[in-house]
Subunit: 369 residues, 2 copies
C-alpha cells in the first residue's frame, strides 16, 4: 500500500474538511452554500515570462447550491470530495474511473443518478484539484502507467528498493503517482536525464546500455509523456540538479512534446509549477540533421498540410518566438518540406542512433534551449 | 543486450540462410526462384478439437520472382529476411518499425523505393514467420511493452535478477520478447497466475498485496494482452504447471479476451501452439454476480446493439458452444440486458474486489472452464 506520511495525509484531509466546512457553516447561518473554483480555460492561462512556464490566471467562478443550473454540479463536487476523503482516510490510491463508481448511486426516492458517465466526474476532479490546491496525485488518484525508466540510480518505490541498473529488458514501469511519499531517490552516478519520445527507441538505448556508458537515466513516456513521467522528471531535475534532454522525432508533434515538458500545457496550466522544466533541452532530431548526418532522402516523409500549419503555430508560441535558433529550426522544416522519425536512422545501422548520432550531438552541443 | 544462446542464434540464422539458398539454387539452374508461404486467413484457420486451440491449416501460396504481380513482394520478402539476418548476426533486437526503415531505400537508378509504408513490411514479417517457422520474437523483433507483473517469484530478465515481490507500485514491465534466452524463472511460492484485464484494477491488487496473501502472480495486459504477455503466461503455465485465471469485465469484450488467451485468435492462428492456454479459467465478472454479490443496478450499463450481436457471436464459438455453463452465462447477459465493469465493485468499497469478491469466487470455485 502506498503509505502517505502522516503529515501529508493530514494536510489533504484538512483541505477536504475545510471544503465541507463551507457547507456546514452556510447551513448554520441559513445561507446559500457556495464554493469558488479557479477557471480552467485558455482565457485564464498566461505565460509567465519570468518563470518561463504557462500558469493559471486569477479568474474564478462561483459554484452555488441554490442556483438551479449549478445545484447538480455542486452536489457532485461534494460527493467527489467526500470520496477522496474516504480514500485518504483509508490511506489508499485508486483510479479516476474507480472513484466515479464509488460516487455513483441512485438518489433515494428518485430515478436520478448522482453521476451517469465518467465524463461528468473527471472534470469535477480537476475542479477539486484547483479549488483546494491539491494535485490529483496527492488526492491518491492515478491514471494508467505509461512509460519506463532504467539507468544509473537506485530508487525506493513504495518501500521496495529498486536498482534501475538491473531492470532487464522491460525496465521499471513509471507509476502515475511519484510523489515523495511513494518514490525516493537513492545512490546514483547519473549526470543527466534523457527523455525519449518512443518506447521502441528507448528499448534500443536500453539494449545498447547507453545509460551505463553515458552515466544517465533513460526514460520514455509512450508519446506525449503522462503526468507521472513529467512529475518524475521535474523531481529529478530539481532535487538532484540533473539536466534534462528531450529526444523526439523531427516533426511538429516532437516539438510540441518538448514544449509541454518545458513550459507546461494549457490544459494542465494549474500544474505547470509542479511539472514544467523550463531548462529542458531539445536534443531531438533537427531539420538540419539531414545534412549533418548525411541521411538518405528515401527515409524522410513529406509534410502534410496539417504539419505545416501546426509548425507555424508552434513557431509563434511565445517561448519559441523569442529564440532565433528555434525560428531557424522550424523554418528549415518548412523549407525542406519533410519530417523524419528517429527510426529512420536505422537505415544506416541498428545502433547508429546510440553509437554515433546522439553521442555526437551531445559532444558538439547540438541541442536547442 | 538480449543474448541469444549460441544454439538459438544459429538455428534462426540457418533458417534464414536456407531461404536465401532457394534463390541461389534457382539462379544456378536458371529457374524462377519461388518460395512457399502458408496462407494466413480465416479460410485457413481451423479449430483443433483435440488440442482445443485455433490452428493454421495446410493451405500454401507460392510467391515467385518471375511473376510480375509477385516480383515486388518477392524482393521485399528477401529484403526483410536479409534485415533479420543482419539483426541476428549482431545479436540485437529491434522494433518492426525500425526494421522497416532498415530495409527501406531507393533502388539504384530508379525512383522506386523498396518499401513506401510500414503497412507493406509488417505483413511480410508475418509471412516470414510462417514461412520459416520462427516467431517474430525469435527473429528479435519486438512490439511496444504493454502489461506489468508482480508476485511471489524471482525471475532473470536479460541477465538481471528481478524479485517480483519487491517491484513497488509500478511493477515489472513485461517485455515484448520473453523467450527463454531473455527471461528465466527462479525461486517462487506461486500457486496460480491471475491475469487482470485492466491496469487500474491490477494496481488495486498490487496495492492490497493480493499476490502475497494468495501466493500468486498478478499481471495485466492493458486490455487485450499483447503477444509478450500471452507468451509469458503460456511459459509459466507449461513450465511451472501453474493454473491460469482470467479476470475481466462483464461484457462481450471480456469474454473475447478470455477466448483469445484460451484458444488463440484467427489473426495469429500460426502462433496458437506457442501462446494459447486451453486450460485457462474464466474468473471474470459473471452476469450472475449481480445477484450473488448484491450489486446495485445503478452501476450496471445497458447493453448496446453491438454488444448483443457480439455476445451472440461469441456464444457460437465452437469452444463456448459445447459448454452448458457458458451458454447459461451469455444467455443471462442477454436476458438481463446489462454489462458491468470491474470498477463497479468500488461502489461497495475500494477493496471489496480484493478482500471479498475474488477470494469468495475462488473459494466457491465460481469460475468457468
Amino acid at each position: 500500500m502506498a503509505k502517505k506520511s502522516r503529515k501529508e495525509h493530514e494536510a489533504v484531509g484538512k483541505k477536504l474538511q475545510n471544503l465541507a466546512q463551507v457547507v456546514v457553516k452556510a447551513a448554520r447561518f441559513r445561507r446559500d452554500p457556495n464554493i469558488e473554483i479557479p477557471t480552467r480555460a485558455l482565457s485564464n492561462s498566461i505565460y509567465d515570462e519570468k518563470r518561463k512556464i504557462i500558469m493559471l490566471g486569477d479568474a474564478k467562478q462561483t459554484r452555488s447550491f441554490f442556483n438551479l443550473s449549478q445545484a447538480k454540479k455542486f452536489m457532485q463536487t461534494m460527493l467527489i470530495a467526500s470520496g477522496c476523503n474516504d480514500l485518504n482516510d483509508q490511506g489508499k490510491t485508486t483510479s479516476i474511473r474507480d472513484l466515479f463508481y464509488h460516487c455513483k448511486h441512485t438518489i433515494e426516492g428518485t430515478k436520478e443518478n448522482t453521476f451517469d458517465e465518467q465524463s461528468e466526474s473527471d472534470p469535477i476532479i480537476e475542479d477539486l484539484e484547483v479549488a483546494i490546491g491539491s494535485l490529483r496525485e496527492e488526492l491518491g488518484l492515478f491514471a494508467e502507467n505509461k512509460g519506463s525508466m532504467v539507468g544509473a540510480m537506485t530508487i525506493v518505490d513504495d518501500g521496495d528498493t529498486i536498482d534501475l541498473r538491473r531492470m532487464g529488458s522491460g525496465g521499471w514501469s513509471v507509476p502515475s503517482i511519484v510523489e515523495k511519499d511513494v518514490i525516493q531517490f537513492k545512490k546514483h552516478e547519473t549526470q543527466f536525464i534523457l527523455l525519449i519520445e518512443k518506447a521502441a527507441i528507448w528499448k534500443r538505448f536500453n539494449e545498447d546500455r547507453y545509460w551505463e556508458k553515458h552515466k544517465c537515466l533513460i526514460l520514455h513516456g509512450g508519446g506525449q509523456p503522462p503526468r507521472g513521467v513529467r512529475r518524475l522528471i521535474y523531481r529529478l531535475h530539481n532535487e538532484l540538479k540533473l539536466p534534462v534532454y528531450v529526444l523526439t522525432d523531427n516533426d511538429p508533434w516532437g516539438y510540441y512534446i518538448y514544449s509541454v515538458v518545458k513550459q507546461g500545457s494549457i490544459n494542465l496550466a494549474f500544474e505547470s509549477a509542479r511539472m514544467a522544466v523550463p531548462k529542458a533541452r531539445f536534443i531531438g532530431m533537427s531539420s538540419f540533421d539531414v545534412q549533418r548526418f548525411n541521411i538518405s532522402h528515401s527515409v524522410t516523409i513529406a509534410l502534410k498540410d496539417e504539419d505545416k500549419s501546426r509548425a507555424r503555430e508552434i513557431m509563434n508560441y511565445p517561448w519559441f518566438k523569442e529564440k532565433e535558433e528555434w525560428q531557424k529550426e522550424i523554418e528549415q522544416m518548412l523549407k525542406s518540406g519533410v519530417k523524419m522519425e528517429l527510426e529512420s536512422l536505422s537505415s544506416k545501422d541498428f545502433s547508429f542512433i546510440t553509437e554515433t548520432y546522439l553521442p555526437e550531438k551531445m559532444k558538439r552541443k547540438l541541442w536547442l534551449d
